[in-house]
Amino acid sequence: MKEYLQKYVALRKHNAQVAWKKAKIAKNCYLFLAPYAILFTMFFVFPVVASIYYSFTYYNILEPPRFIGLSNYISLILEDDIFLTGVKNTFMIAVITGPLGYIMSFLFAWLINELPRWIRSVAVIVFYAPSIAGNCYVIFSVFFRGDAYGHMNALLINWGIIDAPILWLINPQWMLPICMVVILWMSLGTGFLSFVAGLQGVDKSQFEAGYMDGIKNRWQELWYITLPNMKPMLMFGAVMSITQAFGVCDVTMALCGYPSTDYAARTIVTHLFDYGYSRFEMGYACAIATILFLMMILCNKAIQSLLRRVGT
């Protein structure tokens, strides 16, 4: 055992020495990377660490942070019903819009890919536009306005399906489904672009080989040729859509109000805003942020290990 340890230490030492020498040779590389690395550490790595640290404290900006152990987490999970509503809503939204949006992104990218060139570029614009159209989703509050002037109500009343206008954005029963529709409408984002680009890059000769080997229809082609080729893009798209699905807040805040009736449209992020920017309980807000962070990373890791099996 001792011998083994000694060997291990020696090996480590040697490796470190080699790395140090390599680093010396490559000092220009570090110079190039330095500006980005410093800013990145300052605004991405350090805040995550700081957020974890503050989550164990009581901090209201005015007084210095006071260490209170796990009690932020305990009261979050055991006492804060609104937070649990937020978690439930976020999960509902993430579980439904995340995979659906992801599948939609891929499906439409794949269908678009078969179109002639110029129609394809128009189609990409049409499908991608909602996700970059600023706060265009506000228009849905006109569709779903609670009185008879709202288009949805007007339509349904005219058809005789309902006789009194439905308060779409005030009735807790309807809030989440409507938000989900809007989020789905906006879900063809960066991942979609990545899919479109990736599909164009798939080697044509593989399809030809596929015809020879007796691939009968487009679905077989999709499963045996296209998907395995697209694996890296699928990974990238998954990261994008998970990040989006867990970070929902703009849409619910714009459509259902902040705070919404009965907190029915509260998500984790709106809860974070509430405690961080309205009540200035930074420690508590950081605990929320840390939980959100862990959820996102874990979910990403899980999905990635799942995607690794696609087409094999």
Binding site: W20, K22, A23, N28, C29, L33, P35, Y36, L39, F40, M42, F43, F44, P47, V48, A50, S51, Y54, L111, L115, S121, A123, I125, V126, F127, A129, I132, A133, C136, Y137, I139, F140, F143, Y149, H151, A154, W185, T190, L193, V196, A197, G198, F207, Y211, K216, N217, R218, K231, P232, M235, V239, G247, Y277, M282, C286, A289, L292, F293, M296, Q304
Partner: protein
């Protein structure tokens, strides 16, 4: 005799009416899928078309019952009203515009330079710590900015950048997405190009500015687009308090929040805000797609 000489009539080659581009596709399936695509495309475009037509409606049509989708008598009154309101505001319209343009331009330029420099060495050189650093960057793409919002505020506060443009501009430099895309694209460049330049006696900076950067122009465009989109839509509400430093989008959305009386102007605002990113995308689509082709996340 005659039978033998009778020539086999050659069929003139006729183009098939419907060309099958791929041998294993059924035409019915094609037609069905494209119809489906057309319907979905209409659904996707409808809210945007509706927003535009709303902005062109005169006020009485906006409150019409039953509501109509297209404007009967399109006017540009809403837009001129909007400019009148903006002109009367305490801080002038041009100041808001300047703020947004300044933040967007400086943030994007800095991001492009800083991220490309980092991406260049990560893509083309091997040095201890490089791959690890890149892994951390891919992890950083996995969570939203909301997670880091509060510590970010505290850091910016310590630096004394709250209520200055820098609170928006400097964090934008470090966006992980830009570096990721740039690095993936640069990996596609032939290494021999860089080696040739080195043999000719170019140092790293020369290789970077003279050889690599001119060859990754599509990636430039992509970085610029993503950065502009982010910064243009940045309301900066939490970091900037002084009215004269607020961004255009913030000012426009204040008007939007003006209630029933401003319904027409609000509709116009929606269009003004969304037009810029969409147009930029239309003009740079092919370059963006070229970059995104290398966006895959390998493990």
């Amino acid at each position: 005799m005659s039978k033998k000489n009778k020539q086999v009539e050659e069929k003139p080659y006729r183009k098939p009416l419907i060309k099958r581009r791929k041998p294993n596709r059924s035409i019915a399936g094609d037609v069905f899928l494209f119809l489906f695509l057309l319907i979905v495309a209409f659904i996707m475009a409808f809210p945007i078309i509706f927003a535009v037509s709303n902005a062109l409606k005169p006020l009485d049509e906006l409150f019409r019952f039953p509501p109509r989708i297209f404007a009967q008598h399109p006017t540009t009154d809403n837009f001129s009203d909007l400019f009148v309101t903006m002109g009367k505001s305490w801080v002038t319209f041009s100041r808001y515009l300047f703020n947004t343009v300044f933040i967007t331009a400086v943030g994007t330029a800095g991001h492009l330079l800083v991220a490309s420099m980092g991406a260049f060495v990560l893509a083309k050189y091997e040095f201890p710590g490089g791959p690890t650093f890149f892994k951390i960057i891919t992890v950083a793409m996995m969570f939203t900015g909301y997670v880091t919002a509060i510590p970010n505020y505290l850091i910016l506060n310590k630096l004394g950048w709250i209520d200055t443009y820098w609170s928006i501009v400097i964090p934008a430099f470090a966006s992980p997405m830009g570096l990721f895309l740039m690095k993936q694209f640069m990996e596609g460049l032939p290494t021999s190009l860089i080696e040739a330049a080195k043999i000719d006696g170019a140092n790293e900076w020369r290789v970077f500015s003279g050889i690599v950067m001119p060859n990754v122009k599509p990636a430039w465009m992509t970085l610029i687009i993503f950065s502009v989109q982010g910064l243009w839509n940045n309301k900066a509400a939490t970091y900037i308090y002084s009215e004269e430093k607020k961004t255009l989008v913030y000012a426009l959305q204040q008007i939007q929040g003006g209630g029933i009386a401003r319904t027409g102007q609000a509709a116009a605002v929606l269009v003004v805000v969304m037009v810029v990113p969409i147009f930029i995308f239309i003009f740079s689509e092919s370059q963006i797609l070229e970059t995104m082709a290398s966006s895959g996340l390998k493990d």
